[in-house]
Symmetry: C2
Subunit: 267 residues, 2 copies
Amino acid sequence: MQKAIGIFDSGIGGLTVLKEIVAKLPDENIIYLGDTARVPYGIRSAETVTRYSFENTQFLLAQEIKMLVVACNTASAVSLEAVKKEFPLPIIGVLDPGARAAVRTTRSRTVGVIGTEATIRSGAYEKAIKKLAPDVHVHSLACPLFVPLAEEGWTDNDVAELVARKYLASFQDTGIDTLVLGCTHYPLLKTVINKVIGPGIALIDSATETAKEVADVLEKLKWRGNGIGEGIRKYYVTDTPARFEQIGKRFLGDSMLRAEQVKVGGV
Amino acid sequence: MQKAIGIFDSGIGGLTVLKEIVAKLPDENIIYLGDTARVPYGIRSAETVTRYSFENTQFLLAQEIKMLVVACNTASAVSLEAVKKEFPLPIIGVLDPGARAAVRTTRSRTVGVIGTEATIRSGAYEKAIKKLAPDVHVHSLACPLFVPLAEEGWTDNDVAELVARKYLASFQDTGIDTLVLGCTHYPLLKTVINKVIGPGIALIDSATETAKEVADVLEKLKWRGNGIGEGIRKYYVTDTPARFEQIGKRFLGDSMLRAEQVKVGGV
């Protein structure tokens, strides 16, 4: 079997990234690991998330991968540098592609970022954006209820809208014209976020941006798949698969989604 | 030091139980373990939660405890019998006290139960209630957004009310006159739940009921503290303490809350 693209996420959210990669590179084999026994990462400390990232990477390396995608904003924000230092394969996080797209998009040079508590606390988006364009102002906001809303499937009802209104009111009068959806769950709430924040503000979905970067890197290295047929996709989880399969179907629109439970790290 | 009452919860919610025990038995030493590195239990499988319960119990036994309180509805629902079988000290879960209070309270012989996905899926409340009173009808409902709402501190605003309305509408026309708050986070939403469900329905808070049972058991065994002064309270967590201390202050109204990070099981 041709070596796969390895993807890990704290749970289900990374499937939005997988979906975009599949759309762009349908012939690639993909191995996905959802660390469902230890989800959510967004409320945990940087040390803990970094340890989990190492263990997830070791598991995926044992499955024969050519490239690693850290499809979790929290893990990308707090552990990507450490993971890159330890494991010398091509590694792509979801944070830099989002930051790059934001810098490319903003005209007002003022960007908003929303994400989990851990992602926002880390300041990683702000640092990444400032590194690319020191003149861009960044307004960051943690939106802890967006993940449970997306998992409950309440992505486009009155609760979702009221929650979005409460959080996004913080961006009023900041002058942002671009908002980074800095969590892989948030694209599911795109419609309601768009409605609340208004048509004048561009939404950056890191899933799309990350898929573009995965394709670019594989092209550059001449490591692309053979271009024939559909790649094989395997899903692993660290808790029992039932909940992942059920919610994952909503994410992927794939009613046949099957996952296998594995042991990763101490879990 | 006099042997302590050991309490564990998946995270912060069990502090509502601790608070009631302190109010009732202020002279008792209490050791609390919040498994914050593996929270939330409510979305995990029964096998995983059972393993976590065993590891938490082993940690507390090493701290010299005379009694164990499983202050987590999910752990009580799916693992209490197994924990009792393995560890022969007095053990109290939060589920049976709540079930008993519900049976004692209902006149219409129809009871509602709300809790996490894992608690409701286990059917443990229904079983416990039916065992006490086979004639009582039970209507159960998972309310996954209540925990993140409580942790966000949105316990009495318009979002909390709208979410409560959406969930609790299921109980219309069921004839319930009693509603069990089957998750230790839910007492924080008591005001809004009460407002939405109406004054005709009694709310059962397992925290109060559990504290009563702890006092009863210690009295019966003649294991009560010496009745002099304030007991010592120690808080342990499995992730870094910052978030636990911050949210815990809101739960306990104790601005001095300090917790220590420890290793439990594979975490």
